[in-house]
Structures are given as C-alpha cells and as structure tokens.
C-alpha cells in the first residue's frame, strides 16, 4: 500500500484510521511518525475503534507500552486471530533499548497482536528488517488539515 490522504478535521483523521484498522491482521506493525499535535493519538484511537477495542486508549508516554485486549472479538478478529492491540510510545526514548528491556519483542509481530508505535522514527533499529506499515503525519495549509502518507516498508 502506498498512498497519500488528506484529512480536513480530527474526525476525518480518525475515520481514516478506523478504515485502515479494518484491513489489518495479527502480527501487523504500524509505525506512526509526526510531531506533537500532528494527530498520532487521534489515529491510535481510531485504530482501536476499528479493531474493536472498547476501553479508553490512554497515552503510554510514561509507561512506554500499553496493551489493549479485545474483549468481545467479532468474527473478523477471530478469523484473523487478533487478540490485542499493543500501543507503544517512544516519545521519551533515544533508542530501542528501553523497549527491549520491557519485552517489546514479545509483542512485535506476534500473530495475535497488532502493534502501533508512536514516534517510531526514534526506535528505527527495533523495526529494521521487519515488515512495517509506515504512516507519516504532515501539516496541511489550513490549521486542521493533515497530509497522511501511508507506505509499506
């Protein structure tokens, strides 16, 4: 997948994430890249909604990693074997060492887990050689406009 989408509001960004999440399968890794306020949190909330997670998606900035279990999996999740969304935030990190020490490799690419990593550009080494869906957030001309570049790496 290689495409660029333009969203005009937070709601549109979220809707795009919901739509994309519905195409994901277990083991997929989604890397989010973009500045503070670019829309990464909104995107993860949308992804969680698309996958069928009902609990709140808290910022993992302080704890680095939060896993959200899918409590009531729909037919699709069952077929694809998706059991949880692992939400990682590398905002405070310079490299992948800290994530490795808390066991990120148990989740990354695990067949029952979708992993989404905010500030993925800060932990590039962790993702080297892995199949990753990269999503880059840029700002449009207008205040609420976002240019979102989606590519397979």
């Amino acid at each position: 997948m290689n495409k660029i989408i333009k969203t005009k509001s937070e709601a549109e960004t979220r809707a795009a994430a919901v739509k994309l999440a519905k195409t994901l399968k277990g083991g997929d890794i989604v890397a989010l890249i973009g500045d503070l306020g670019a829309g990464k949190t909104v995107w993860v909330k949308g992804m969680a909604e698309g996958i069928g997670i009902q609990e709140r998606v808290l910022s993992p900035t302080f704890v680095l990693l939060r896993c959200h279990e899918i409590k009531r999996s729909g037919i699709r999740n069952k077929e694809l074997g998706i059991k949880q969304l692992c939400h990682v935030d590398a905002y405070r990190l310079k490299d992948a060492l800290a994530l490795e020490s808390i066991g990120i490799n148990d989740y990354l690419g695990a067949p029952d887990t979708i992993t989404v990593i905010e500030w993925a550009d800060r932990v590039e080494k962790l993702l080297a050689g892995k199949k990753v869906l990269k999503i880059e957030f840029g700002f449009g001309k207008k205040e609420k406009e976002r240019i979102i570049k989606i590519s397979n790496v």
Partner: protein
C-alpha cells in the same frame, strides 16, 4: 510503629522512615528520615525521563539509601510502590523491599502509587497540620493529577475506591509537559509553565477545553497540543507573549479539572474533596479549586497535601502502607509483583 517506605515508580528514588500511631481512628504520622534522589537534572538533558537511565540510577542508589534511612533499626513494616509506573523502575524498589522483607522477616505491603498520592493528604509539616477528621470525612472525592494520571476517584472508606472519571488520552501533567516542550521550555514543563503563567493574563488566548460540558466525568487533554502548536507557529516572532500563552494554557487545563471535580462532588454528595498527585503542587489549581468548593459546596471540606509531598515520595507510600496494615492487609514477599498498569 516504624515504617520503611520505598518509592521508585518513575524518576525519583525515595526512601523514608515514618513513625505511625493511632490506628484507623486517630492516625498520626511523623517523618523521621526522608531521602529523595531526584533525577531531574539528568533527564533535563534529554527533555524527559529516559527509562533505562532511570532504572540504572535506582539500582545504583537504592541500597545505600535504605541503609542510610534504616540505620541499625529494624522497621515494623515495609511499604513499597508496586505500580502503576515504569516497569523497569518499579521492579528495583519492589525487589529491594521483597528481599529485605524475607531476610529480616518484616511484614510487607505493596502500595498502589495513586493510593499513595491520596494518602499524602495525611502527612503534616510545620506549616500544615492535619485537618482530616475521620468522622464526617467519607465519602471523599479525590482528584488525582500527575504526569501519568488524571482521575476522579470516589473513596468510600480506607481502601475502598471507585474510579468515576479519568482522562481518555493524555494526563493533565503530560499536557503541561508537552505544551512546555512545544514552547521550547525545559523539562519538567509543568513548573515552568506555572512560573511563566504567574506574570501572564489567563484570558489572553482561548485554548480548547475538551469535554468541559460532556455528560460524564472524563477528561481529554490530547487536543491541547495541536492548539498550542498551531498558536506557536502563527505567533513565532513574538516571544514576549509567552507569559500570556502559559497563563492561558494553564487556565484551559485547570478550568476543566475544577469544573468536573465540583460537578462530581455534587453528584456523589461527598463530604470532602482531596487533591493529590504531582500537579497538585500547582498553586493556581490549589487555590482556585479551594475557592470553587468554598462557593459551590460550603459544607464540603477541602484537603491538599503539603507542598513537599505533592511530588513522588516514599512518605505517602508509607502512610498508605500503615492504613493497609491497620486493616491487616499484607502482601506476600515471595509473590509481590511490580505491575505497570495497576488500576486503583
């Protein structure tokens, strides 16, 4: 009894020796020795806590700190933060406490960090006496605000908590920190924004107050980052406005916190409101919440922790541990685990 308290949930290593007496009915606490080793100077360089560095720092200093605080004395109880927090940091404190508990045969209590923050309200200083009287205290509403948490917790009795509202994304302290980062201010951002805000006009700019009028007690602070970023970009040249910007950001965060707290206090007909967590050091929040309660709920008592116990500290963990021990709730040192996502 004498309690050894240990707290390593994030970037402060803190060890305390606390004298506690009075049981559940008339609890009294006196801090005998309190050591805090802050890593803020280290983390300032990187603009935030670096977990690996934090854990290494904890490992290096925890044993000498415990020895220093304990001296030759054998405490009657060990209380340690077991979560929530940074797992690599938590483990250092928890494992030290477990080993000490087994080897010296001292009872152990694993304390929830948020519960610790609530119990900071029972600590006293020369400036601030204990105003909590057990009769007419419960049910209490606790507003817990820190870098990692923003929660409204209904406390029906010691150890009985119910979360009635919480942030859906970023914590209030995180909103302070990340806004500060966008403004180019040093870490930790909360105190920097508060300092600048003191000289600014809180009504100068209108920043969003998400969920202010929503039909629940939840919060959302993530959108504030976007608003601050846009503002900074559009006003790049004019750094003299920074005081007004800081004051306006602070006002946006605090207004939502206060409004929801008052509303929840009315809804649940609480007898007291407690402020807790690192952001409870914010003087404007302390003052304005107190004023709002005095006006809207004159019969409700209002409690704030002493300034020096607002940030992470082991004294509050020891106090919480005392209330557990008073109810005979102990942890097994062989099985106590650090839990990064432990909800109150």
């Amino acid at each position: 009894m004498r309690i050894l308290g240990i707290e390593t949930s994030c970037d402060e290593t803190s060890v305390v020796l606390l004298e506690a007496s009075g049981g559940l009915k008339a609890p009294k606490f006196r801090v005998l020795k309190n050591l805090v080793s802050s890593q803020i100077p280290i983390h300032r360089k990187t603009g935030g806590v670096v977990p690996e560095v934090a854990a290494r720092e904890h490992v290096g200093i925890i044993v000498p700190m415990i020895i220093n605080v304990m001296g030759k004395l054998k405490p009657d109880l060990i209380a340690v933060t077991a979560g929530p927090g940074l797992i690599t940091s938590l483990r250092v404190g928890v494992d030290a406490a477990r080993i000490l508990s087994v080897v010296k045969k001292i009872p152990l209590v694993g304390v929830n960090h948020l519960e610790g923050h609530i119990y900071a309200n029972w600590l006293t200083t020369k400036k601030q006496e204990l105003r909590i009287k057990n009769q007419d205290f419960f049910p209490a509403l606790c507003l817990i605000v820190s870098g990692g948490h923003t929660e409204l917790v209904l406390m029906k009795d010691h150890g009985k908590y119910r979360r009635i509202g919480a942030t859906r994304d970023d914590a209030a302290g995180e909103a302070f920190d990340k806004s500060a980062k966008l403004m180019g201010l040093p870490y930790p951002g909360g105190p920097e924004i508060a300092r600048l805000a003191a000289g600014g006009n809180p009504r100068a700019y209108e920043f969003p107050r998400p969920m202010l009028n929503s039909d629940n007690f939840d919060f959302s602070f993530s959108g504030l980052k976007t608003a601050v970023r846009v503002f900074i970009e559009n006003h790049e040249a004019n750094k003299s406005q920074f005081q007004d910007v800081a004051a306006s950001i602070q006002a946006a965060i605090i207004e939502v916190l206060i409004k929801k707290t008052i509303w929840a206090a009315k809804e649940y007909k609480v007898k007291s409101v407690l402020l807790a967590g690192g952001v409870s050091a914010n003087k404007i929040l302390r003052q304005y919440l107190g004023e709002a309660i005095a006006v809207e709920l004159p019969k409700t008592s209002y409690h704030i922790p002493p300034m020096e116990y607002t940030t992470d500290n082991a004294a509050m963990i020891a106090v919480a541990g005392y209330f557990h021990a008073a109810r005979k709730k102990f942890s097994n040192p062989l099985t106590l685990e650090a839990r990064a996502q432990w909800e109150l």
